[in-house]
């Protein structure tokens, strides 16, 4: 691949994530790659995309070079259409106004459940992680795109702790748990783009990133992956995507 050294893994993540969005959608974006990816989509193919932030922002336009340190900071509000309470922006998810929730992940399992609370036994944790934030709300109430680093210890058969629910134990267990709407839609890593099987709700590979083999993906995953018969190869980042992205984050705050 001639592009192999022309972009970082984080840049790849942001660009592939941005491609998952459609114009006109209402997107609830977390900080970091999700915020970058949603902004990238908005500034390339999706001018009518609306970005929501957990701090209480609707329709934000993040300023290039002035990325906010979190989605609860004032930089998120610049030229927004509306600023509102943070419980109220989360309630928009519950009412159904949001098409896509878009966040990062620390640990994910075969059913798309995310853990950001505990490593090890929650009663006596090896590591106490920061917790759900809005992650549980977003993943409980809308369709999710997760962008994360692909490592075997992060892609596990069953997470130690379900912080943000995907399809719980697969099949109909999400709906049976009281979550009839939304669910895990896509997982994007530096290796591949994943979806979920309609029936079993297990993770499957939809497309390999350029220059990545099936074996490489499977070797970095802690459970057996399903591959689509028609597993495609994702086209590499375009110059336009890369340039726009680098304009947004010139200091490589989130794309180092």
């Amino acid at each position: 691949m001639t592009e192999a050294h022309s972009y970082t893994a984080s840049e790849m993540l942001a660009i592939l994530s941005a491609r998952q969005l459609r114009d006109g959608q209402v997107v609830f974006a977390g900080i970091g790659v999700p915020l970058l990816a949603a902004t990238l989509a908005q500034r390339t193919r999706c001018p009518a995309l609306t970005i929501l932030f957990e701090g209480g922002v609707i329709g934000a336009f993040v300023e290039p070079g002035k990325l906010p340190p979190s989605t609860n900071d004032q930089r998120c509000t610049k030229r927004a259409n509306m600023v509102l309470g943070s419980a109220d922006v989360l309630l928009l998810l519950q009412r159904g106004y949001v098409d896509v929730g878009f966040m990062g992940g620390a640990q994910i399992d075969q059913y798309g459940n995310l853990n950001s609370s505990f490593i090890g036994d929650p009663a006596k944790p090896k590591t106490r992680l920061p917790g759900t934030g809005g992650g549980n709300d977003i993943s409980s109430l809308t369709n999710m795109i997760v962008a994360m680093k692909h490592e075997k210890r992060r892609f596990v058969e069953n997470v130690d702790f379900i912080t943000s629910p995907g399809f719980i134990r697969g099949g109909d267990t999400r709906r049976e748990s009281g979550l009839p709407a939304g669910g895990m839609f896509r997982v994007i890593t530096e290796l591949a783009v994943f979806g979920f099987d309609d029936t079993s709700k297990r993770m499957k590979v939809l497309a390999l990133n350029p220059g990545v083999s099936r074996e490489e993906v499977q070797d970095n995953t802690g459970f057996t992956l399903q591959f689509d018969d028609r597993t495609e190869v994702t086209p590499p980042p375009t110059e336009h995507e890369l340039q726009t992205l680098r304009l947004l984050d010139p200091e490589r705050l989130f794309t180092a």
Partner: protein
């Protein structure tokens, strides 16, 4: 534990009946206001993450060596560190506890939770909001559709899963949270406590209504006339407020919408110091920045003029267009 958290309605009303809700001036110093915070109380903090953190009041509460506080905040960051690290709190209720997105995990939190037996009680962000909202509405719970099916829910026996009596749908009822005292920082208010909040509101309105007392710190005290000229800009009514303290840069080193952004050099230095040594690093930080200064102004001087000016320039830029 649960019983202690959820006040019966009659008790909530009795507490309120005893409160002086008359139109009266209530301006006082940080030191005086801190007397509303007593050992063992439930304390609610306004703002979120690094925004409108009631830092000056937290700083004063730590200086006055309060203990065993049960502290709630929608998202908590370095303020949580200071409360655990100083020994002021042994129980923090929040949806997220780290040092800020840029720095990730708090080693201070990890130290105190993993090895010191302190509690970080986790709820979803919306659930924290619904708990304050229920408290502010005077009802014992609100129904939500989040947390269901997750281990976050399984860790919270304080909440109750029900089948909806109307639709049969599964719902989670989250219990009201009525802090004994709320600490809230605002851009401006009058001497009675009528407060305007610019920009991001977070959960401060629900929190103010829910709490059994409220200490308001404010960048600036304005006249009641100014408040009355735009009554639809008032966000917290005076009768929720028990103390008003004027504290310029009262959220430093965090931000206050439209006035200043976080003081990043200070934050970077702080994180580096406490994450490299959550015990001694924290002790040294507290000595130098919390117990050491004679006043909030002296604390600001330690942060430094250049940081303040830079943060202020960035803070006001939200209005440039």
């Amino acid at each position: 534990m649960l019983e202690a958290q959820l006040e019966p309605y009659t008790q909530l009303r009795d507490n309120m009946a005893r409160r002086d809700r008359s139109l009266r001036e209530k301006v006082m110093s940080l030191e005086e206001a801190a007397s509303f915070v007593q050992d063992g109380m439930k304390v609610g903090l306004g703002g979120s993450t690094m925004s409108r953190t009631p830092m000056a009041m937290i700083w004063e509460v730590i200086r006055q060596r309060r203990k065993n506080l049960s502290v709630s905040r929608c998202i908590i960051s370095t303020d949580g560190d200071l409360l655990f690290g100083s020994g002021a709190s042994d129980h923090i209720i929040s949806s997220w506890f780290a040092q800020g997105i840029l720095w990730g995990l708090s080693k201070v939190m990890r130290h105190h939770v993993e090895t010191q037996g302190k509690r970080f009680e986790e709820w979803s962000h919306m659930a924290v909001g619904m708990r304050y909202r229920a408290g502010g509405m005077g009802v014992p719970f609100l129904p939500t559709r989040a947390m269901l099916g997750s281990d976050v829910m399984k860790q919270r026996p304080e909440a109750k899963q029900i089948d909806c009596p109307f639709t049969g749908e599964k719902l989670l009822l989250v219990p009201a949270l009525n802090p004994d005292v709320a600490l809230i920082h605002v851009q401006r208010c009058d001497a009675y406590g009528n407060a305007q909040i610019d920009g991001l509101q977070f959960m401060d309105i629900d929190l103010a209504l829910a709490a059994n007392s409220v200490i308001l710190t404010t960048e600036r005290i304005v006249s009641n006339d100014q408040i009355r000229r735009a009554p639809d800009h008032t966000k917290i009514p005076f009768f929720c407020v028990d103390a008003v303290v004027e504290v310029p840069y009262g959220s430093a080193p965090h931000e206050c919408y439209g006035l200043y952004e976080p003081m990043m050099n200070h934050m970077e230095a702080y994180v580096s110091q406490v994450n490299s040594d959550p015990v001694d690093g924290m002790r040294d930080y507290l000595e130098k920045y919390v117990y050491g200064p004679k006043s909030w102004t002296e604390y600001l001087s330690l942060i430094g003029m250049e940081e303040l000016l830079d943060a202020s320039q960035k803070g006001r830029s939200i209005y440039n267009d």
